[in-house]
Symmetry: C2
Subunit: 341 residues, 2 copies
Amino acid sequence: MPDPIATLDEMRRILAMLPGPDLAARTAAVEREGQLTKPAGALGRLEAIAEWLATWQGRHPPDVRRPRTIVFAANHGVARRGVSAFPASVTQQMMANFAAGGAAVNQLCTAMDADLRVYELDLERPTADFTEGPAMTEEACARALAYGMMAIEPGVDLVALGEMGIANTTAAAALACALFGGTAADWVGPGTGVAGPALAAKTDAVAAAVAINRTAMTDPFEILRCVGGYELAAIAGAVMAARLARVPVLLDGYAATAAAAVLFAADPHALDHCLVGHCSAEPGHRRLLARIGQAPLLDLGMRLGEGSGATLAIGIVKAAAACHAGMATFAQARVSGPAAT
Amino acid sequence: MPDPIATLDEMRRILAMLPGPDLAARTAAVEREGQLTKPAGALGRLEAIAEWLATWQGRHPPDVRRPRTIVFAANHGVARRGVSAFPASVTQQMMANFAAGGAAVNQLCTAMDADLRVYELDLERPTADFTEGPAMTEEACARALAYGMMAIEPGVDLVALGEMGIANTTAAAALACALFGGTAADWVGPGTGVAGPALAAKTDAVAAAVAINRTAMTDPFEILRCVGGYELAAIAGAVMAARLARVPVLLDGYAATAAAAVLFAADPHALDHCLVGHCSAEPGHRRLLARIGQAPLLDLGMRLGEGSGATLAIGIVKAAAACHAGMATFAQARVSGPAAT
């Protein structure tokens, strides 16, 4: 990856200056919704999504013509502790699968007419094993955040953020545990499909990570540095950059949401421009969603990562934008409104 | 509408001879799922949907290239009892809105790249007010069923079924109450947005309909005749014809599901080729889904009807088919499988 000069303090400063909602665009969206040919509220969350899009794209009507799925990939030192059902080499192998168009996210991007970009973060150099100390140096963590920021390019109007990294549900569980408390067991699940001794090893790894790094984890960015990973830091960076660029975000599953939750823990409004695409079957995800106050758009028992659930949710957001922009008003269609009562 | 000669006994005979699952196609789908580059089960319901598609299209791989949304529209005599927030004339006005492309379902069909067909059933002649006796004669009910059957045309590979008809959540509640028991209040909700005295009138209408038609409602088809409606009978007919034509079905909200539930009550396997696209905000829908053993694909608080929720779910089914057909296998992609444990 390239080598932007950045520090965690710079990242803290960027977080403090994220722009707020565009209230004029929101008001325009709310007013138009009330005139469309349907009973008030009958499109349910599609109406709220259209308002959210307008608010965070900062324009009315909002539009989703250039959605993009971004997948960040990295490796984790903790993988050597047998916390995944798959060997760490699968991260690299999946890069070739993404490039060849053979992964689930490739099919989903085609189905949703979304662009796909996959970024590797030093796959040959995993983070340190965070059961023995911080996963990253401050410099490496800030660099990964900045790298993620650079992935938000002009012209994209909706971004779905996902990840690929063997062992990263272990990192997600450690992040969630350090950010929100509870025991390691509260946050650990089967991930790619571990059970029995491997699941116990995973839980032990999370507990050890949180314990050994406790004094170093003085704020959410330090938590990210100590028990996160490169792809998770990149996601956090991308979330911030998307806010700056007025690009609404769909978060994928447990790992992506845990990465974004670092920002939420630092500022509860930091994710107001984000929706969570789906609820993963990984049990910690539902718990995490409750902590950050997000209701997922889909709940289909998926637990693949690689941006798959967020990409599928692009279709919902597109549909919301299409209804909002394309429907006739009662006046245009000469349809009677509700009877006066 | 045209005038096919049909009787309810013919419909009962058709229901008894619906084809079963294509087990060879299902087996082929299950075998392929196990080889795709993802942890087993990681695509959750998308995997089950791909298997369902193969099973009921009767081919492997399944495919969704020509999905179609079909909306049946009719008027209801019970509308005169003030059970809806909108006047009955809105049914006809919405036909013009559909034709002009201004309704929600038009935008959703465009977003999902689905075909849309809207069929009117004698809008100028509503059913009889079923609080005073049967809504339909046997002949009229059988004709509406047959009309719905004719809407399933060759070449379509997935159909979303919806409706438009002021007062038809009243009919849906009466159907559900007569089919599955409970009180009128158990099944009645705000529909287009009624409350207070109008909601009480709606509940009273359902209770009266079920009481006055009780002795006539000797089987599910008689229930459909007594407390259903033309568009609801057409949906039931379309569900049967789709099974015969090996076209999987997505059902929309409360009214469409209640119509299909007539078939379920007659044969619990009659809807095995159907999924329910979404859970409506209309409270009776969730209760009804539990009775027919269906888990909706989406739950977005929508309550519009006109096939909107089922159409939105077409995107999920397309995505499932795309993943199933397009993903690489572990062998093709040279990705390592799970570590032996």
